[in-house]
Each structure stands twice: as C-alpha cells, then as structure tokens.
Symmetry: D2
Subunit: 360 residues, 4 copies
C-alpha cells in the first residue's frame, strides 16, 4: 500500500483525504537556506482553489497553508518540510451512496476491491482532485529552488472542449496564463472555451482538454537514463494527477507521422552557443535535457463527476442501477489543473537539479 512518495533527492510524500482532517505534503531533501514563507505557497495554492468562477466547482475551500516543520527564521533548514491545509466546508453525507454504487469514470470500484472496503470513500478520499493541493505546495517550494538557477515553469490551457489556442509566445504565456478563468493566454480561444464549458455545465456534462507546459533555462543534461530519464520521471509524476490520460513531449504523437529528416532538430550555432534550429524533441534527447525549451502536453479526460444520471451496479445487491453523482462538480478540470501541472513539473525538475548536484 506504499506509493505515496516520489523523488530521489527532492522527495515528495502525499497525505490526506478529501473529507478527512487535512490534505498536505511532506518534503524531504530540500536544501537549507531557501527563503520560504507561507505566503509563497499560498500564491500557488490560490491558483488551484475552487469556487472562483462558473467554469469550476462552486465549492469554496479556504485552503490556508500552514508550514509545520522544516522552516526556521524564514528559510528552509534542510529538515523535512511538513505543509497542510485543514479541510472545511465538507458535507460527507451525500457520499454514502457511492459506497455501494460506484461512480462511472471514478476509482470507487477498483479502490473498494483493493482496499477491501476500508478506504475512506468520502468525496473520493485519496482519489479526489483535492489531493493535488499537496502537489501544489510541493511545487511552490520547488519553484523557489529552481529560481536559483533561473529555471521557469509555465503551463496553460492549450485546448478545452475541442477549442484550441493559437500558437503563443513565451511572453504571452508568462503574463496571461492566469489572466482568465480558463487559464488560456489566447483570449479569443479563451472566450470560446468558456462558452463550451458553460454549455456542458448547463447540460450536466463535462469537457476535457489539454494542458501544455514549458520549462525555460534548463541546464543541459538533466535526467538519469536509462530509467530515470527526464521524460520518464515527468511522465510518471504527471500521470499521478487525476484525470490525465496522455502525456507527450515535443511533437509527441504527431512525430509518429513525420520523417526522420523532418523531425530531427539540426544543431546550429547561435552567438557561439550550440542550439537547435527547431525543437521537435521538446527539449529532451535520450532522456536528457538539451538546453532547449522543455515542452510537454498533458491530456485530461472530461471530469468524471457529472450531473446526468448514469448507469452503474449496486455491488452489494449485485444488480444494475442508476446513480446521480453527489457533490458540486467542475464541468472541466483543465483550468484548475494548470497550476497543478506547473507544480508537478517543478518538483520533478527540482529533483533532477539536485541529482545533478547543481544546487546543494
């Protein structure tokens, strides 16, 4: 039943349940001397907080982070950092129904089998998107670490409900990714996305989408092939975000249809520096960072919790039935996933920066 710990040098341990007392994270391996305040973490947490617009759930969660260890006089000490938010605004009663009638698209049924019925099913327990609040806390610390090397991690909604953003510049992404409710710096596309989401909500349905994440100023050679290569570790961590069904780097699945002569990125000299003329590789070759922009795209399925009645099975009475999923739902998880993707990419990069000995 292990599996809640990730990373070799920047070690992130997740804990907490959706409707338990708290949700949070324990970080082991953060070097001493990094400035870190609750405000630093809160900024990031606020970006994933629900209740901010109609495109997300109307649940309100205050989510004030508390740092309980590992920080002294405003700086990390090198000791484990424990951070959490206390759970509030929780009404668990409606969830009784999911105990015996698993929600389609949710982990209820396999979790019931795996944990032999002992798992905390309220609000989805450990399988709730709420768990990602802990990821965001870890990401906030990782970002502070990465900033010492000038590394930046930027994500945004590339596509929601079939509406895709146009090609965007780094500057646009950096400045505008949190400028609207759908977290898409292409404002025109953002308007359309919003419309699609609200329509789905009206119909008691949900839509999926794609988050793109870039990382800038990466040193060359991050990653520990063959198994802990940079893409391997990023993919592992990204698939730990609920609702993710696909991860690709650079041209990704599209590359499967290219010729080698099209897809290979030629090396060139730019102001004495070795660069590539294109970046089809997404900044990763052989599992190592190339020094070019890291580019990854993450596919999110439409949120499983929808208002429409759905077919399911009563697993105790062993008969088919219907369920109306309780709770207030996100008609799409994509906008709130944007800061989560940034956080996850950041803590994987922090791990590899430390493994490479670039920060002590």
């Amino acid at each position: 039943m292990t599996g809640n710990i990730i990373g070799e040098r920047f070690v992130v341990a997740s804990f907490g349940e959706s409707h338990g007392r708290c949700v949070g994270v324990l970080i082991d391996g953060c070097p001493p001397g990094i400035e870190l305040s609750e405000a630093d973490v809160q900024v990031e947490l606020d970006r994933r907080r629900p209740g901010q617009s109609l495109v997300t759930t109307t649940r309100t969660e205050e989510d004030r982070v508390e740092i309980l260890s590992g920080v002294f006089q405003g700086r990390t000490t090198g000791a484990p950092i424990l951070m959490l938010v206390w759970n509030k605004d929780v009404d668990s009663r409606p969830y009784e129904i999911i105990r015996n009638t698993p929600r389609p698209g949710h982990a209820d049924y396999p979790a019931y089998i795996k944990y032999r019925g002992f798992n905390d099913y309220r609000g989805g327990g450990r399988f709730s998107g709420r768990i990602t609040a802990g990821y965001v806390m870890a990401g906030a610390v990782a970002k502070k670490l990465l900033s010492k090397l000038g590394v930046e991690v930027l994500a945004y909604s590339l596509e929601i409900g079939g509406v895709r953003a146009r090609q965007l510049s780094v500057d646009e992404i950096r400045k505008h990714r949190y400028a609207n409710e759908v977290r898409c710096p292409d404002f025109e596309a953002a308007e359309k996305m919003k419309k699609v989401v609200l329509e789905a909500r009206k119909q008691g349905d949900s839509v999926g989408g794609i988050v793109e994440c870039i990382a800038l100023n990466l040193p060359i050679g991050l990653g520990e092939p063959v198994f802990d290569s940079l893409d391997s570790d990023l993919a592992k961590a990204l698939f730990s975000i609920p609702a993710v069904k696909g991860v690709e780097f650079g041209r990704g699945f599209e590359a499967a249809r290219l010729r080698g002569s099209e897809n290979n990125d030629p090396f060139i000299l730019v102001e004495e520096k070795i660069k590539t003329a294109s970046n089809n590789s997404g900044g990763i070759l052989g599992g190592l960072s190339t020094g070019e922009q890291l580019v990854t795209r993450i596919a999110f399925k439409p949120a499983s919790s929808i208002a429409k009645p759905q077919k399911t099975v009563d697993i105790v009475e062993k008969k088919e039935t219907e369920i109306v999923v309780p709770g207030r739902h996100d008609p799409t998880v994509v906008p709130r996933a944007v800061p989560v993707v940034e956080a996850v990419v950041a803590f994987v990069l922090a791990d590899h920066v430390l493994r490479a000995g670039l920060i002590h």
Copy 2:
C-alpha cells in the same frame, strides 16, 4: 549518475553499452520456483533481433542470452538473476566522427555535456536501442511470472509511417502480431506499412509509428496511488525506451475532446460479474487496474539515424558542419519495438503483481 534501476519488487537493473563487451540485465526480487531456461528468454530476444528483413537494420547480432546467476536446476531461486548477451559484429571506427559532431535527434550532445566527455559514445553507448535487449530479457522472466495468474501482454504495430491498422480482435493480435516483418496483424495495412518503410529507406530517411499494447486478465486493483499508480509506472518505463515521445491510455488524447457522458464507462453486470459497457479508460481508473483490458499506445518518433546528410555543429572547433551518420540504420524502429514494449509492460505488471502480494 544513478537511474539504471527500476521497480520496487521486481527490480530491473540495466547495464552494458552498444559496442562494449555485453548488454544485459540484473533482476532482483524474482520469487523462487519459477521455471526459467535460456530458451525461454531467447524466444523473446529473437523477436527484437535485427537483420531479419529489409524493414530493419541489416546488422546481424547473434544475441545468445546467457543466464549467469539466480537459476538452479531450471528454476529461479529467489536470488538475483544476471543475464546478458555478448556483443559481436561491432565496428566502432565509424563512430569517431560523432564524438565532436553530434548527430541530430540523438543524445550525443547532452550526453557529452552530462558525462563531461567520458561516456562511451561508440554506437551511441548507453543511448543505443541495443540496450533494450536487456529489457526484453527482463520481460521474458516477467511474462513467466505473469503467466501464473493468466495475465497476457500483447503488442503490435498500430501505425507506421502514417498507415494505421484497422480495429483488430484480441485473437488476431495474439496470433498474428509477429506474422510479418512490420509486426502488424492487419495484413493489408502491413503491406502498405512495408511499402512506406522501404520507400523511406530508399530515400535515406526514416518513419515513425505507434505501438499499441494490451494486457489481459489483470486482477482488479493493481497500482499504488497516488504516485506509483499503474499508469504512472507504465509511462515511466515506456519512456525509457529510446525514441518514445508519447504515451496514452484508453482513449488517451482523444478523450480530451469527449464529453464526460461519452467518456465515462458505465458499470454493468455480465454473468454476475461487474464489468464496464465500454473501455474508454483503457482498464485504469484512479491509477488502479479495473479488471478490464489494459490498453496503452506508445508514439515512436522516426529513427534519428538517417543516411541523408544533416546539419550539425563541430563542438570542439565550434563551427557549423554536416554529418552523415555512420552505421547501418533501421528505417523504422517500430517493428523491433513491439517485443520491447511487451517486455516493458510485462515487467511493470510483474512488479505490481508482486507489490499486491498476488504471487510470492
């Protein structure tokens, strides 16, 4: 510089270089009592052996596996299993050129930086596809283990050079996946794929493609969320195969464009058993196996080694130049990747079967 070990309970350690003395694998954690012979491993290895047709490289590698520890009287003992093949037919001289002029699309350049010029660059060293011979050995043992639970792992070429196979039945995949050179059980598509590959070869170019892999008869609840979930661990391992640029499960990236009501798989009763009416999830919910067919697709970029001259930089003299990549090339890696994907999926599943305590 660690990173060559994967798995928690079925631990796979990779070693060897393309043009070194050998390539192989060390397995720690295999339970005692599993029947295992060199022939069992050889069957799998032969499937990835090059030199079998024009769609792959014409290099010949004998690749006779030797089991050097961990097996006694035809069965595993519970001790570490060391397996390797000795390298032969190796001409390293042409590779001198890549030392200073990195091949586009290869790891040469970031590897040179990371290992400060000390890496064994001959034939790509640790970044060669040849390393996957070790994966296949590990997969062969994993398959023996999985067969005790009736679990089967089947992969095939779903798409090569833009040619996509039609929908195939499990039986077709099981019987015909190794029936032709492109490893596609849709014989009509296979013919077209072959044509595309040979054309690319003639042009000194290469093509990419997609491998699909299914796993049958999985127990419910494999996977250790939140970080060691089944999709996380599969993705991590799959991205350790050279040339992989994308991994998806079930509907994958397509799911990003579906509505929740379309994508959710309703639970139904089939002969008293709880099943799902569809399998858009690809057999994974919340990072746990659902008992339905596991479905994953892996995107391979076109092989980076092409005969055409390409732009690169002389990193010592710091000037732009051209390279004609030495060696005999695979015009596509996809057919030979099929047994590798099977192996990788098998050893990740074996790891999770052991973590779940289903075999001792």
Copy 3:
C-alpha cells in the same frame, strides 16, 4: 538532505523539530483494516514521556497524539497515516548560546557545518531525543500489525551506569519492564540503577547503559539478504536513535571470543518441531529469522547534556571557551529509550513481515 524516510513496505517518514511546532511521523504502506485509535498510540507515547520521575528530565511534555490522516471509522484505510504531537512547554531562549559554542557530545558542530548555519538549533532541533516521539507513534502502529501474527516486542534496561540486571525470564520482562522508573524488571538491580542515576544527577553528570530487546513468535525467514537482512535493517534503524553507539545480536561481541563448537546452535527436535538447543545466534542466521527468540542489545552512551561546565570553542570568534549546557537534562536516557527501542524494532519487523507477504 534526504534521509528521513526508512522502510520498503512499512515506510516511516520522520518530521518535526524539538522546539518547532510539532514532532511526528508519516507512515506509508500500512495495510487497510487494522484497528487504530489515538488511545492505542497514546499508551506507547506515555511510556517515553518525560517528567515522570527524578531519573529523567523534569520537563513536562503533554504529548497528546493526533491522527490526521489514514484512519477512518477506527481502522486504517491503506492511505498514509499522519500523526503528530504539538510542541508545548518550550523555552528556546537559553539555546541561543549553543549557536556559536557547540555542546560537547552533541551534533551542534557538524550540523552547523552541514546545514551551513540554517538548521533549527533550538533544543537540538532534529537532533533532539524528542524526535523519537515520532518513532514511538510508528512503533505503535507496527505493534498492532505484528499482533495479528502473534509477534511481541519487549525491551528493558539491561544495564545502567554499570549496574547489570540478572538473567530474566520472558514473563518477568513482559510483566515488569515498565514497573519501575528505570524500566528494569530485576527490582533489586533497579534499585541500584536508580541510586547510580540520582548520584550522577546530583553531580551534574550522566550515565549510560544497555537496552536489551527480544521479539517473540517471529516467523522463519524474515529478512532479505544480502543487504536488507534482518540484522542489517534492525541495526540501521537502531542507530537512528540518538546516543546509540553499539548494536549486537545474540552473543554479539562475546561471540568473538568463543569457539565455533561453543557458539553454533545445534538443531534439535522439540515436539516434532525443529528448534535449536541454544540461541547464541539471537534468532538470526544469514540475516534471516530462525524462528527462535530475536535478541538484540543496544549500547547508549551517557547523555551528552550535563550540568557541569565543559570546554568548547566559540566557532565565530575562534577561541576556546566554556559552556554550561542549557535546558533540563535526563541524567540517563536509558529508561526513556526502552519504549523507543521497542518501537524501532517493531517497525522494522513490520516492514519485513509485509515484505514477506505475511500480511496484506
């Protein structure tokens, strides 16, 4: 700066500082369905609580444990278990002095160098014996787990300040180990130990001692040689208790002076069962449990914090000086170490019981 996580399957992560907000533990890997209440943990915690007699420090720490995750309806869920006690009765001001004048026998100086001055030095921070409160919490859960197999872990003070207990029966140990302040079931020796301790206290000094720990009803074959053998893993964990300077099993150092014919334990049949006539091995052969009683002894140095003035160096002004160590001191750590040793042995055994697949 990692290193605060131990175990493969019953994973224990330590956090908190002596004078920070809290001290506690995160457990990953505990199987679902184990009955667990705060009272279960409190019983164990109360045994290491200070302020109970003159032989320990007079500081009072309430140490009420709170379980913050991983338990639902009185049972473990299979999710990570977060437990902590909030720090109270803390006066950190006297500790300013140790910043620049490291206490002899304490980690102050190497910690200052390692963490570059950023470590939380108040009360010793992470190097305080207070950290073991978390170990005890983890041990409490481990004991519940082990009790399902009938495994019992019993420790007691074998020797304090040179006074050694007589040979004791298992029953005496089980019943009387917490019956007096020095945790020695030999009441006569206990009286003498107490006298020695109080004398040392009066002189502003401290004494060391030896804790013996036995474990009963272990299954045969626990341990994963060659590196994760049972003695290896126990020793590693036991040396993580502050003040431990030696660990031995069975006859231990004494065995170095025996002949093989004396030290080997002959196998015999006792009521059809294979047993050994003696137990010089302490229940471990080749790193595996033999099914006999596990016997380990742990040497504790005299507490480093003493009232007597001691020589030290002002590391800023670079000159020799004297220090009178602040705080209220334990004249011996041995009695309070007894429940800590039990806890540590218990969580290592729990880890190996899970690795052996004996509980799911």
Copy 4:
C-alpha cells in the same frame, strides 16, 4: 525477495552464488572520469583470496576480475559498472548432505524455509562468504573515488581468538595491516593469534574475533539523519558481511559504563582548526561525521563450518542426526574479513560523499 541492492548514489547490487557460474557486483552511480582498471580491483581482491596460508581455507580460487561494462579508455563513463569473477575449483557434490541436514550456525535452515527449497544450496549459495568478493570489487571502485578527497579506509584484526592487539598508530596500521597472515599490525599479537588459530584448526574448531576500521580525512557533515545517518548506513552494510554479530562506534559498548563528563569530547582549537581533545565518539555525532577519525569495530563470530561432528536434524525424515560439515574451512574468517570490511566502509562512505555533492 529483493534486498540485494544498497546505497542511494553509489548503488551496489550483489549477484552470484558460491558454486554458480560467477560472483560479482553491479555499481550504478559512479561518476564519470575515474581512472579504473582491472588491476586496481585485482589488488583488493587478492587480499581476500583464500588459499594463502594455513590460517585460512586451503581452497584455491583464482578470482580474476573482469570489468564488463561502464569503463571506457581506462576511465569510468558514468554508466553502470558490471564486474565479476568466474567460479572455478568447485566441487559441489559434498554439499548434497546439507540439503536435508542443515549445518548449525549456517543459514541453511531458514533459507530452505524462506525460498521453499528452491535456493541454490551448493556451498551455501548466496549465504557463502564468497559473495563478499563482490563487495571487495565495489570497495575498490569506492576507494578510487574517495582518494579524490584524500579519504583513506584502513582495517585490521584487532582481536582473534581472544588475543587482542595493543594500541596502534595510524602509520602502523597503514603499513603493516596486510604484512602477516592474520592481518594484525601488532606483530607480537599476530604471532599469538596465529597460534590460537592453528590450534583451533587442529582441533577441527574455529575462533572469532574483532576487526577495527578507521577512516581518515573525512569531510565534516557526512550522513543524512535521522535514518540515513552515517553510523546507521555503515552498520547496515557491515551486518551484511556474513558472521558479523556486533558493530560499535568510538567507545561503543564501553561508553555505556562511562559518565557523560568522561565520554563527551571537548572541542578545542588546534592550529586554528576546531578539533576534539578526545575521540570517544569515533568521529560521529548525531549521525554526522565530525571530521575526526572514524572508528568502528565489528565482531565476527567463530566460523560456523567446523570439522567436528555436530548435532542437527534431518528435516525431511524429521529425526535428530549428526553432520560433518563438508568443504575446506577457514578456522577463522577474521583475516579475510579485513579487506571486506575496508570495502564495505569504503562504499558506504562513497555513497555519502556523493550524497553530500562533494564529487560529481
């Protein structure tokens, strides 16, 4: 059945069986650029080779190491290093007897239970002292690494069969530790030790002893408390050497009888440097290296394999019987354990040097 891998950054994986095809080691994490030849490793291996005198077994093992991967042009590449010796001079027939009648003091019985009879019992299989040849290979690489920091690791026989060496200077230890058959730089004691060993041999018996190991020039702050502290990791690795029953640091068990005022090492200034006036701590405080000499002592039991007939049980026929242990025996393992202890201490230190980021 995992457990054959140790270390976080200098990762050592052990493989091979006493009478299998080979014994060796796989190292993952060695930085690139370290000069390494087979001769470097052979020097160390030769020190543990048997057949060198009457105080050890008369078996001859050639033990020529082969480096099969990870070294290119005389230097490490950053890739996994595979090293092994092929087994020769092996007569397994006499070992048939131990299958059913376990040898007292050996792992035969618990191994039989654990591995359900599938373990390779010939010559003790994985539980043979022969496995330590792999440790020595790993140690040879570690020593090369440590030499870059000027760190030296020196072990010697402090006590054999009750004969203890006098206090020795570092220079004596460095120069003379391999100068005689018992590996004791006190030549007078060495003569007596030899006599005791030969007498035991004549009587078909064996003797135990104590190895002391010192490490010089350690940087301050090695170790990752609370669980991966330096003493914890050293003890874990040292208990992985067959026949070890006790490990202590500094004054060790003796410290249990000292007063705090005697045992604490006062800080002093020596030529502007902070040192301690004594070294009762053995160079470790709070699990961190202090910069003083690291001192550890390891207790070895008398070799279990003796010529005298011993009582045992036929586990198939379930009746008591006698066994005369087959094979040629070491009357003491201590002299051959000296290079093994050096190797084990070296690879643990190398791991921590890399964790501390002191070498890349």
